[in-house]
């Protein structure tokens, strides 16, 4: 396999997919999703609140099945996978939730990060401590390691959510509105950190991490994202690269690009 094909091999594919996380709540699903997340990509998926961004990421990560269409992880159809195999493949994908990262409220910050390490590598607290400390250091939350999530601010919880998602050194990182409610200082940190991950961070032995970010406002991402798409009127709408994004004349998309969502 050539280096180029290794760089662009598809990691997550949704083909003619209809996605909805909660079909019982009456919300309309997002239809016609044809999304291929290839190695080395940095996708930015924009949409207004309640447009289905979180549902799309949850489906891509394998947390929920698409209502229709095909879902492939690392080249294999999810429907054809055994349970154990599916869990193994899913562990290669990290997911950072919005609004404080959905941390486990009864565990400290360090325990939150250590949990996936302990569970999947069967490590006790002491054995996992070194790896946990490295991830906490990486994300700048070492000083709050012994605090409960309720005792730290939302921007820091968001970072702990990132640390927890990175604990298993995933190949793909999906982030749901990571800059929501953050001040400029935190925003700068996230941009620099994600940029370093995409370029190949030393913590990952220089291996670039493939990124997909769901956002409500394209503006902070136009300088770093490589591929762009939007969810509009419950439809998947690929926009292309940075240059195509600038050229779009679609009014609703221009709102996302120029002035944020209404």
């Amino acid at each position: 396999m050539s280096a180029d094909s290794q760089t662009h091999d598809p990691l997550i594919e949704l083909i003619s997919a209809t996605v909805s996380q909660s079909p019982l709540d009456g919300s309309r699903p997002v239809e016609g999703v044809n999304w291929t997340l290839a190695r080395g990509d940095w996708w930015v998926v924009g949409g207004a609140p309640w447009s289905g961004k979180s549902d799309l990421l949850a489906t891509a990560a394998g947390l929920v099945s698409p209502l229709d269409g095909t879902h492939r992880l690392f080249g294999r159809d999810v429907e054809q996978m055994e349970d154990d195999e599916f869990v193994r493949e899913r562990m290669r994908i990290g997911l950072v939730f919005e609004n404080g990262g959905r941390l486990f409220h009864n565990l400290t910050v360090a325990e939150n990060v250590a949990l996936p390490l302990g569970y999947h590598r069967n490590l006790g607290a002491v054995e996992a401590a070194e790896q946990t400390a490295a991830v906490l250091e990486l994300t700048g939350v070492t000083r709050m390691a012994d605090s409960l999530p309720s005792r730290i601010g939302r921007p820091w919880r968001q970072r702990v959510g990132l640390a927890r998602a990175l604990a298993l050194r995933p190949e793909v990182l999906l982030l749901d509105n990571p800059l929501g409610g953050l001040d400029w200082r935190q925003t700068v940190w996230w941009h620099e950190f994600l940029g370093a991950l995409a370029a190949g961070h030393p913590h990952f032995d220089g291996r670039p991490v493939t990124l997909a970010v769901a956002v409500e406002d394209f503006r902070p991402w136009t300088g770093c994202g490589r591929q762009f798409a939007a969810l509009k009127d419950n439809r998947w709408q690929p926009l292309g690269g940075r240059e195509s994004l600038k050229d779009t004349s679609e009014p609703a998309l221009r709102e996302l690009i120029e002035a944020g969502h209404p």
């Binding site: 079909p23 019982l24 209502l67 939730f97 941390l103 949990l115 069967n122």
Partner: protein, 286 residues
């Protein structure tokens, strides 16, 4: 139509029936209650089977994480309940056993004292009271904890990390509660029996400690030990499964957690009483 879409439509229909205003007709009301009962039993049964399957297939998975959780649950549902179980056991001994001993003595039926003790305390009251104490103290807390976790999306976060929520959240609670109720029942029976004798002694019942213990030992048969162990473990499994089912198995909003807690208590009591009845029938048939 895709199978998933069809299932979704069926679920939507059932949901709309369950959420419809309470029908006025008696028959409609009964039908609705029956449907709710069937759905609950079906859900509980499926949840119990899944939990058992996970407990067996993942016996040696992530032991460094799961075993400390089991120890924590035994501490929470067992060790921390020792004082209240001691108090209830002593009260039970004084109120019920002491009075029974005194009454049998007045009737001249002292030879039945051991039989009555074993029937009332070992077979029935001990396991049931220990189970109800664990339900009140830990079962309700479990529903609130899991319901809150579910409402805050922490269960999805576990799944995103590749951690089986049943293995991480339910199995340790099930094992912990089963072990705790068994141990607490033993503790409660011993305290109740001794406090009962103390009460009888205070009432000047001429019964020597040696005779009392001999009567108890004579009334006990091997089936008592086997059924006692099975029954207490069964109560632990039932309470943990019902509590975890109410907290986990359906999407909850934070304001729905209190309702789920009430349901868990009612369902647990009904399930424990039914299980108790099954054990009585088994014992009578043996």
């Amino acid at each position: 139509m895709q199978p998933q879409e069809a299932t979704s439509k069926v679920l939507q229909n059932v949901q709309s029936i369950m959420e419809a205003p309470l029908p006025r007709g008696y028959l409609s009301y009964t039908g609705r209650m029956l449907l709710r009962f069937v759905l609950t039993v079906q859900g509980l049964g499926a949840f119990a089977l899944i939990t058992m399957g996970v407990a067996i297939t993942k016996l040696n998975v992530a032991t460094h994480v799961i075993r400390p959780l089991i120890r924590g649950e035994i501490h929470r549902a067992g060790v921390r309940l020792l004082p209240v179980v001691a108090f209830v056991g002593a009260a039970l001994g004084f109120v019920i056993i002491g009075q029974t001993v005194a009454l049998l003595h007045r009737l001249g039926a002292q030879e039945y004292i051991g039989k009555v003790m074993v029937t009332v305390v070992v077979r029935e009251l001990g396991p049931l009271v220990a189970a109800l104490l664990v339900l009140a103290r830990v079962g309700t807390a479990t529903v609130i904890e899991l319901g809150t976790s579910r409402a805050h999306g922490e269960v999805e976060a576990l799944e995103a990390l590749g951690i089986d929520p049943i293995h991480y959240l339910v199995v340790p609670r099930m094992v912990g509660m089963a072990v705790s109720i068994f141990a607490l029942t033993m503790y409660l029976i011993i305290i109740a029996v001794f406090s009962g004798y103390l009460f009888a002694f205070i009432q000047d019942v001429p019964l020597l400690p040696g005779d009392y213990v001999r009567q108890l030992a004579g009334a006990l048969v091997w089936e008592d030990f086997v059924l006692l162990a099975l029954k207490t473990v069964g109560f632990g499994v039932v309470i943990s499964i019902v509590s975890c089912f109410q907290g986990l198995a359906q999407p909850l909003r934070i304001e729905e957690v209190s309702g789920a807690t009430t349901r868990a208590v009612l369902h647990s009591i009904v399930a424990c009483v039914l299980l108790d009845a099954v054990f009585i029938v088994v014992f009578l048939l043996m």
